[in-house]
């Protein structure tokens, strides 16, 4: 029988909690208590779709197996402490899809899992359009509409919004955004990104002083809200 989610955590209590939450939502799952076991289950057939990975594992550092899990085609959601910024950035840069900070809210966690499952299960997105909360981007015509209103973006802002919308709901690190939009030479020029985000918010947010679409993850990156 196919399992949707692979739970990797060495703490039995946490595993039990997670399995309980997944059972109630009707999401199937398997469990692993170590990195070795996780890799074995990730390679099994049928493959799980999403892996919920705790980084503090007894045999290996969880961060080490992120690339392998991602390489096997799984959507990796990392469980980390709130202040572990470096860890989050590293995990995302190594191919993780998303992260959830501990202590976690089970509703939020389930929402992230569902979103990941949808992304993996759903048809490949149309090559030229993206949709997000109330907005739509048409790359061929270089057009952005919020509701029914067309918004004028500079090419840079357009590319930035596209980079965010390309992976909606997921955090994209500062460096990745800078590299995609400005080029590899500008990976460290955080000022560019901050200013461009601000300009973008003025154009697409209902209240730029209280942005809800382009969400900041302090020290990590930005995320485009889905719902």
């Amino acid at each position: 029988m196919r399992s949707d989610v692979l739970i990797v955590d060495d703490e039995p209590a946490i595993r039990r909690l997670l399995t309980g939450a997944l059972d109630r939502s009707g999401i199937t799952h398997v469990e692993a208590a170590s990195a070795t076991e996780a890799l074995r289950l990730a390679a099994a057939h049928p493959q799980p779709v999403v892996v919920l990975l705790d980084l503090g594992l007894p045999d290996r550092d969880g961060i080490e197996i992120v690339p392998q899990l991602a390489g096997l085609g799984l959507a990796v959601i990392v469980l980390t402490a709130r202040d572990a910024t470096q860890e989050k950035v590293a995990a995302l840069d190594l191919g993780a899809d998303d992260f959830v900070t501990k202590p976690f809210d089970s509703e939020e966690l389930l929402a992230r899992i569902r979103s990941a499952l949808r992304r993996k299960a759903g048809p490949l997105a149309d090559a030229s359009t993206r949709e997000f909360a109330g907005g739509r981007i048409d790359r061929d015509r270089h057009r952005v509409t919020m509701g029914n209103v067309q918004v004028e973006l500079t090419p840079r802002e357009f590319n930035l919004l596209w980079a965010l919308a390309d992976r909606p709901g997921r955090v994209i690190t500062h460096e990745t955004l800078l590299e995609t939009v400005w080029g590899p030479a500008h990976r460290q020029d955080l000022d560019y990104l901050r200013v461009a985000i601000r300009a973008l918010r003025r154009k697409i947010e209902a209240d730029p002083a209280n942005p809800r679409l382009v969400v900041n993850e302090p020290g990590v990156g930005y995320r485009l809200a889905v719902g």
């Binding site: 703490e11 209590a13 946490i14 909690l17 309980g20 939450a21 402490a81 202040d83 910024t85 501990k102 202590p103 976690f104 809210d105 089970s106 509703e107 939020e108 500079t154 840079r156 802002e157 400005w182 020029d189 955080l190 000022d191 560019y192 901050r194 200013v195 461009a196 985000i197 601000r198 300009a199 918010r201 003025r202 730029p208 002083a209 209280n210 942005p211 969400v215 900041n216 993850e217 302090p218 020290g219």
Partner: protein, 879 residues
């Protein structure tokens, strides 16, 4: 050198600070006896007493004058101490009574007085110095001719030399009041019998009282007082920073020689140094020939150095055979601008032969003023060095020549006649290298006689026929003289450098030994053994342990008698050499040298020599000083090591505590995560809705508490290092609000955010922490139905974030609001670690910002965070 001009500020400041606590000295200075110093001092004392000050007369001489006695009447008189001395008793000033009585001001007449034998100090000025140290103000009197540095000058034109002198140093810190009387008036008083003169002085002292001499003395007194004011003013000016470099960067160097002349030169140098307001250094040159100076002269040299030291000079010994060059080189090293040298009046012939140090110095020095002080021959009168055996050298020389002649007689056949005179040079050369110059000349004489007697015609007579023989004589004599001179110089150089090498080797060995010791007793014992061996003295080390004086390093002397103990105590407390051959408590058999370090006086080295007149030979004084320094250093090292060990222990304990805290926090975190997640998973509905809500909120609170503890331990260990990056403040505030809304079902937060604040350089996580703590705090203190407002705005210099609550506001005294474990009134009820504000403050400061708190008008508190805008304004970022 220890008092280079630039280093002087601290020293001067220290001196002024010490003066605050020390007693103040007022000196009534007169040009001559009979000007009315005592009278004036008593008048002033009466005035002070009338002002309500506690004034006591320690000692005052009325010399039978009734006006003076009348003034003395109303002031409390300290009883004198009677000392039995050879059939009669002497009344002396009682210093112990004065210290016990502790008045505000004490009058001690006649500063230059010499105390009776058996007193604590040989001189009264030392009593006065002790009173000052004890914090008692002293008024005293002195005549100008008693002042050390002026002693010569006065003696020069009055032909009366007083033996009782007062060092200038004690007057330097005094307020000087000149008691002035025109010469004519003084002479009138003298003739009217109003001036008391000690009978012993008799006619000699009467020499003073001529109008010209009195005028000169009066001028000197006034000048001395004026200079004193000048110096005190300079001290004040430099401390208050009103004028930089008042000291002109001059430095005076004086070459000290033995004899009375040397003392004159030292005093002259002191006056020159005073004129320039310059520090000064007394230098002795250890040349080979100076080393030949023995016995009495050696001691005189030591006395002259002591005089220089008491007049405020720092002392140095330099080594060099060419005295003039050595002096000039050292002057350059010291950057001295003035050199003072004595020059005896000697014949041109003497100077031609021996050279003149003064001439050399003048010739070699560039840009340095050389002061030459002429010396009388009487000053110089070198004490002849007595030969141990005056016949030794001539006899050895004779023996050498005799052996050579015998050898020549044994092998006459193959020695050509012309070689004989050459062979006869051998004993001369041998004598010249082994004996003194006189021995070499004796050998030359003997060789010439032998040559004449045995080897020239007519044989076996002393007659001379050929001029060639005369030339041989002369050559022998010249060779003897030249080789003798050269060999002598080489030998002296060798002796000097061997002496220096020996000294250095002993010191190096001593330092090496001292370096390896780790206990007090061992250090003291090794130091004592080594110093005993090097200086041939008895040694001990005294120190204070647990408030008690103890002897270390020499078990033989574990019990000190009273006098020795007093001397040891004095050396420890005052940090000055005390006991035998010193100025203080010299009835003790021991001489104690304080072990002075940067940490204070850690002990004292006691030395004694049973059978000699002086404990320390003058030659050994420098070695002793170095040994004392080394011993002091070793003691200082022991103290520092002990301190370091203690610090190490504390640090280790701190580290363990940190590690423990870290591991506890981690172990608590994991189960807590599960608890929170579990609580969140239970729906808040049905009969147990309230319980579930409590479980959720309290577990969240526990988690915040834990986080606070962890952050606090990070702060305490100084491991807060901001991760600087470009930060959009709006982003941070919004993220914080999002987090908080997630945590609580709270919708009480209102915002007023300026979305156009420029970017700042900051650390987003630290910043978020600060804001979460403040907002959390505000929510805690606001009633459930009232709003909390978060504001963000910017001006040209700062970004300001304010958190306003509707709680009870801050108590009136809120100075320690940001301290650890501070809880506002009622804080216990609301809950919290008491660390939140402290953490917020520390993080804000780590980010270069500031945090403050005040009350709102109309109730509630407002916390404000200021962050500097770093000047990195929003740039056109190719957007």
């Amino acid at each position: 050198m220890d008092d280079q001009p630039p280093a002087n500020d601290a020293e001067r400041f220290l001196r002024l600070a010490q003066q605050e606590k020390r007693g103040r000295l007022t000196v009534y200075l007169g040009a001559a006896p009979g000007v009315g110093k005592t009278y004036r001092m008593l008048q002033e004392a009466a005035r002070r007493q009338a002002e309500g000050r506690d004034v006591v007369v320690g000692i005052a001489e009325t010399h039978g004058r009734s006006e003076t006695a009348a003034l003395l009447e109303p002031i409390e008189l300290l009883p004198r101490r009677s000392i039995a001395h050879q059939n009669h008793t002497l009344d002396e000033f009682d210093i112990d009574a004065a210290l016990a009585r502790r008045p505000d001001l004490i009058l001690v007449d006649e500063l230059a007085h010499t105390n009776a034998p058996g007193s604590r100090h040989p001189k009264r000025w030392q009593d006065v110095a002790e009173l000052l140290v004890a914090g008692i103000d002293v008024a005293t009197t002195v005549n100008i001719q008693h002042i050390e540095s002026l002693n010569d000058v006065v003696a020069g034109f009055t032909h009366v030399r007083v033996r009782e002198t007062v060092p200038d140093s004690i007057l330097e810190r005094a307020e000087i009041i000149v008691v002035d009387l025109p010469p004519e008036a003084l002479i009138e008083r003298l003739e009217a019998g109003k001036v008391y003169l000690p009978e012993t002085a008799g006619r000699a002292l009467a020499n003073f009282f001529t109008p010209t001499k009195l005028a000169a003395l009066r001028e000197m007194a006034l000048r001395f007082a004026a200079r004193n004011v000048d110096r005190r003013l300079a001290d004040q000016l430099e401390i208050s920073g009103e004028k930089d470099g008042y000291v002109g960067g001059d430095r005076v160097m004086v070459a000290v020689s033995p004899g009375k002349g040397g003392a004159r030169v030292v005093r002259q140098a002191k006056r020159i140094a005073d004129m320039f307001h310059a520090p000064w250094t007394a230098v002795v040159v250890e040349s080979g020939s100076a080393r030949a100076v023995r016995g009495g002269q050696r001691e005189q040299l030591a006395e002259n150095l002591a005089l220089a030291s008491s007049l405020g000079a720092s002392l140095t010994t330099i080594v060099g055979t060419d005295v003039g060059r050595a002096l000039v080189d050292h002057a350059k090293e010291l950057q001295a601008s003035q050199i003072v040298i004595g020059k005896s009046r000697r014949s041109r012939w003497f100077e031609w032969r021996h050279g003149s140090i003064a001439q050399d110095a003048i010739r070699l020095s560039h840009g340095v003023a050389v002061h030459v002080v002429p010396l009388d021959e009487a000053d110089e009168k070198p004490e002849r060095v007595r030969e141990l055996n005056p016949y030794r050298d001539p006899l050895i020389a004779l023996g050498l020549v005799a052996v050579t002649v015998s050898l020549l007689h044994l092998v006459p056949s193959w020695i050509s006649a012309g070689a004989i005179d050459l062979v006869l040079l051998l004993p001369v050369i041998l004598a010249a290298t082994r004996l003194r110059m006189s021995g070499a000349l004796w050998a030359a004489g003997w060789a010439a006689l032998a040559y004449n007697f045995f080897f020239t015609e007519p044989y076996h007579t002393l007659d001379i026929y050929s001029t060639g023989d005369i030339i041989t004589f002369v050559v022998l004599a010249l060779v003897a003289a030249v080789i003798g001179a050269l060999a002598g110089r080489i030998r002296r150089q060798a002796e000097t450098s061997a002496g220096v090498a020996r000294l250095n080797a002993s010191l190096a060995r001593f330092a090496g030994l001292m370096g390896g010791l780790s206990t007090w007793e061992e250090t003291a014992r090794v130091a004592c053994d080594e110093i005993s061996g090097l200086l041939e003295v008895e040694t001990m080390i005294v120190a204070v342990d647990d408030g008690r004086l103890i002897v270390r390093g020499n078990a033989k002397y574990a019990d000190l008698d009273m006098v020795d103990e007093a001397a040891a105590q004095w050396a420890l407390e005052r940090g000055e050499p005390t006991g035998r051959d010193t100025g203080t408590l010299n009835a003790s058999d021991w001489q104690f040298h304080p072990l002075k370090t940067s940490l204070g006086t850690l002990g004292a080295l006691g030395i004694a020599r049973p059978l000699e007149s002086r404990v320390i030979r003058p030659d050994d004084a420098t070695l002793l000083a170095s040994l004392v320094d080394q011993t002091a250093l070793a003691h200082e090292r022991l103290v520092l090591e002990a301190q370091a060990r203690q610090v190490g222990t504390l640090r280790e304990r701190d580290r363990l505590r940190g590690a423990l805290l870290g591991s506890i926090a981690h172990d608590l975190r994991t189960p807590l995560t599960a608890v929170i997640a579990a609580a969140e998973a239970i729906p808040v509905e049905g009969d147990y809705a309230e319980e579930v809500r409590i479980a959720r909120e309290e577990s969240r609170r526990l988690q915040r508490f834990l986080n606070d503890l962890l952050e606090a331990s990070r702060i305490e260990h100084g491991t807060i290092e901001p991760n600087w990056e470009s930060v959009d403040l709006t982003d941070i505030v919004i993220a914080v609000l999002r987090d908080l809304r997630q945590d609580r079902t709270d919708t009480r937060i209102e915002t007023a955010i300026d979305a156009d604040c420029p970017l700042v350089r900051s650390d987003p996580l630290l910043l978020r922490h600060v804001l979460i703590n403040l907002i959390d705090n505000a929510l805690k203190f606001s009633p459930a139905d009232r709003k909390v407002t978060v504001e963000l705005f910017c001006d040209s210099g700062n970004a300001t974030c304010r958190v306003l609550d509707s709680g009870p506001g801050l108590p009136a005294e809120n100075a320690d609001l940001f301290e650890r474990f501070h809880r506002l009134e009622g804080g216990d009820r609301v809950g919290g670690s008491g660390l939140g504000l402290w953490i917020a403050k520390n993080f804000t400061e780590a980010l270069g910002g500031a945090i403050g708190a005040s009350n709102r008008e109309g109730g509630g508190a407002v916390f404000t965070v200021f962050l500097p805008l770093s000047g990195r304004q929003e740039t056109a970022a190719h957007a």
